[in-house]
Structure formats: structure tokens, C-alpha cells
Symmetry: C2
């Protein structure tokens, strides 16, 4: 097989979920049927890798110093939602009707990996809380051990800044069957049962 | 979401088997964790789309006028295998111990799609047969209606050039159960049963 084609197949494997077989299929597909869109993809990808940085206010991906979401005048400035990564920000934007601001940690507290408050930009977060506009901080870190530890730390930070911290509700997922819910979640949901009155 | 990020997600959808969700996951993965390999992929992809052409002898993908396989002195020049596309050539190279030459049609006879003998390079194939080196032509077009029609045409071409045409064997796939083999294949395998003596 041609050297360049082998290189392309190898390079495509950096995409998540793409192994040798899929990479080969993708390379052949582009070369046989879709060179124009392949060219366009290559160009957009190079530009994105080069130019997309992080918003200086919320640390989300942005090619401008301040992202469109932070710059928007139609977003509620009293509520701030803290997430671990841009992926979670996108998920919340797509699933909920949330109209407030965000802050992206780009990680979670994990001293063993060298991720402390500084790496997560918590000094900048404290500054934003000190501005006095924010009234509620929604802590939307992942419900993992490290995410919970981070949430605990963030709650303290919020209280120190006179901001009310809130956390996403835990419980039984919608549309599931109790039989298949894991024990920890079921126990939590049972303990936090809510009155229907 | 940033314009450039939206563009990247949209562009990634040109890859086969990649929908909106996967494209978003790929874009975030590259930006968060693998910018260097993303840069490299963009660069290799642009180069491949621009520089990979077709071998002037076998019409397979090649960035040189004559591909390494055609230029190789260790391949058998008496046998020529005709396939529809580079994908099938790669499959045969990977699965079999075939050491002969190839010819890639880059399509199949399909008058409704404007694919006639000229588009498939059959004039060039006839020239190669006329060189007199080739003794056997293995016709490995797909076992579809159009592939069979193409095989029929190719067999005539081979006979006209005094070359022996052969076709891949049809039958029951290895490792399958007869119960699940389609009726056409089973009937064919039954009719072409072979003596075990």
C-alpha cells in the first residue's frame, strides 16, 4: 500500500473509537468518494487545533479571548454553573433550558495527577464570585469520587464568597426500571424521597 | 458553541459511520487531549487528498506515477487480478498469499450511471493483455448483478487476448452454519459440489 495512504490510516486512529479497520474504511471512503470534503475537514481541523483556545472568563473552548456565551447579554448573570469539561457544558446546553453563565474547570481536584486548585483556575473562579453579581453556584461536577471531592471544595469556596451552592439532584434516572438501577443510586434515591403533596 | 468548533464537528461527519454525537466526541477528544495528533492528522489528510492519484498501470491509489506493487520485481507477471476498487485490492492482499499483479476498475459496468468500458479503463487493460506476458486473469469483481455482468465482459476480453479467465469460487462461507446461508448461495454450492476423491 502507498506510504501516504498507510500514514493516513495510522493518523486516523487518533480519533476515539476508531481502530485499524475503521481507519482503513475512512481513508478509502474519502479518497474514492469524498476528496473535497476530506480537504475541507483537513483544513478546518488544522485551523481548530491551532486557533481554539480557552475563554479568559469561563475557560470553555473559544477562538476569541471572551467566548460568545460569556459575551452574550441575554444570559442570566446571577447563576453560575461549574462543570469539569467543555463536553459537560455542551451536554447541559443541549439538554436543559439553563440560561446562566458557566465556569469550566478543565479537570477535577486530583493531587496525584498534579491537579490542584490553581490548575483548575479556582483563583479566577473566586475572583468572579467576589465581583458580587453571582447569587447561586450550580456545582455540576461528575458524580465520581474525585468529582464529589471537587464539589465539596467548590461549595466551601461558594460559601466563603457569600454565594449559595447547589448540586445536581441524584436519584433514579427517568425511563429506567428500578430493577436495573445500581444499589448506591437506589439507596440514595430511597433516602432522599420527596413528598408529593 | 464556538463557530470553529461547530465547523469541525460538521466537517467530521463526512467520515463514514460518524454521526453528530460521534463527531462531537471526536472534536472534544482532539481539543482536550490530543491536539498534536490532531494537527498531524490534518496535515497528513490534506497531503493525501492532494497527492494520492492513481497508478498509470493498475489504477490503484498511488502518489507516484507507477505504484510500488506494479514496480516490484518480486511479483508474478503472469497473473493479473481484476478488482472493482482499491478496497477490494487491500482485502485480497491482506487475506490471501497472492503474489501477482492487479488491475483496478474503479467501478463496475453500469450504463445507467454512465460507467462504460472506457471509464473502467478497459482499453488500457486490453493493452496490458496484448503485451503477452499475462497468462491468467483472475476476475474478482463483487458477486452482485453488476459485478457479474462486468465479470462476463472481462472474460470475453481475456479470451480475445488469449488469456485464461478465472473467477473466485462461490459457495458456502467457511465457519458458517448451513441453516443461515442464503438460498441462492446454498443452491449454487449444492449444484457445484466437488468430489472428495
Amino acid at each position: 500500500m502507498s506510504k501516504l495512504l498507510t500514514d493516513l490510516i495510522e493518523a486516523l486512529r487518533c480519533l476515539p473509537g476508531v481502530g485499524g479497520k475503521s481507519a482503513q474504511r475512512m481513508a478509502f471512503h474519502l479518497l474514492e468518494r469524498d476528496r473535497e470534503r476530506g480537504q475541507r475537514l483537513a483544513q478546518v481541523m488544522a485551523q481548530a487545533m491551532r486557533e481554539i483556545g480557552n475563554c479568559s472568563r469561563c475557560r470553555n473552548f473559544s477562538e476569541t479571548p471572551v467566548c460568545t456565551l460569556c459575551a452574550s447579554s441575554s444570559r442570566d448573570r446571577q447563576v453560575l454553573c461549574v462543570v469539569e469539561s467543555p463536553t459537560e457544558l455542551a451536554a447541559i446546553e443541549q439538554a436543559t433550558g439553563y440560561r446562566g453563565q458557566y465556569f469550566v474547570l478543565l479537570g477535577r481536584l486530583s493531587p496525584l495527577d498534579g491537579l490542584g486548585p490553581e490548575e483548575l483556575g479556582l483563583d479566577r473562579l473566586a475572583e468572579r464570585l467576589a465581583e458580587g453579581e453571582i447569587e447561586e453556584m450550580i456545582i455540576a461536577t461528575n458524580p465520581t469520587v474525585e468529582g464529589e471531592a471537587t464539589a465539596h471544595y467548590l461549595a466551601q469556596l461558594a460559601r466563603a464568597g457569600n454565594v449559595r451552592p447547589t448540586r445536581l439532584a441524584h436519584g433514579v434516572p427517568l425511563g429506567g426500571e428500578l430493577e436495573f438501577v445500581d444499589r448506591g443510586t437506589l439507596a440514595h434515591a430511597f433516602g432522599s424521597r420527596q413528598s408529593l403533596d
